[in-house]
């Protein structure tokens, strides 16, 4: 059975992707770099946004240089620079 993960877009990422979320097919070894490639294949306009954004996985910020990989069922969020308060 095919497994999936979700990606959520906010603020300028939502403007660039023109959607608030996508479903992606999961495969092994999707690290930050591979995830970026997948995102750019679907939404080339995300390129400048991804350069300044963080990833959050299941509502936890991920370091860009960590060896984390996406797991089946994960919710990945693209977090552009925040401006609350």
């Amino acid at each position: 059975m095919t497994q999936h993960f979700k990606v959520l877009y906010f603020a300028s990422a939502k403007d660039a992707s023109k959607t608030d979320g996508d479903k992606f097919e999961w495969s092994d070894n999707i690290n930050a770099e591979a995830l970026t490639k997948l995102l750019l294949e679907r939404h080339p306009d995300l390129a400048p946004i991804l350069k300044i954004s963080m990833f959050a996985v299941n509502m936890e910020y991920m370091d860009q240089d960590n060896s984390w990989t996406v797991q089946p069922g994960d919710e990945v969020a693209i977090i552009p620079p925040v401006s609350g308060g």
Partner: protein
């Protein structure tokens, strides 16, 4: 000892929130309210539009409150309420309110909480201008960024 965390599209009342943190043991209530200014770098602001990754923002705010209680042990109740949706000039976008036995820790905690909120909590504001957008066009809008990344 209550932690009050709310992300809401409703108008935010400072009075209501201050009352929610009041306590007979409190000698001090310290608050911070962020409000929409009418200008940004010579551009006239019409409204701010706030967007949030709500469940992560709530979780992030709760983590900040927990961390504040570890840094300051005199805090009684802590409330953080943030607006989403349109926030026109003069309206309140965020309130932080802290009750404490004595003033020092409450005042310090409020300052620290707003500083941390601005760099950690996934909430974004878009400035909508009435004149002179960022690229010189009439009107316009722009997603803002606070000064530092997490």
């Amino acid at each position: 000892m209550k932690d009050i965390v709310k992300i809401t599209a409703d108008i935010i009342s400072l009075d209501e929130i201050a009352k929610a943190v009041a306590d007979p043991k409190a000698g001090a209530i310290s608050t911070f309210s962020g409000t929409t200014r009418d200008n940004f770098e010579d551009k006239e602001v019409k409204t701010l539009a706030y967007e949030a990754y709500i469940p992560m923002a709530e979780k992030s705010i709760q983590s900040l409150i927990t961390a504040a209680r570890q840094k300051w042990d005199d805090l009684i109740h802590v409330a953080i309420v943030h607006k989403i949706g349109d926030c026109p000039v003069g309206e309140t976008s965020v309130v932080i309110a802290v009750s404490s036995g004595h003033r020092v820790q409450g005042l310090e905690a409020v300052h620290w909480l707003i500083d941390e909120l601005k760099v950690q909590v996934p909430i974004w504001k878009k400035e909508v201008y009435t004149n002179g957008g960022p690229d010189g066009t009439d009107g316009g809008e722009m997603w803002k960024a606070n000064n530092t990344l997490p």
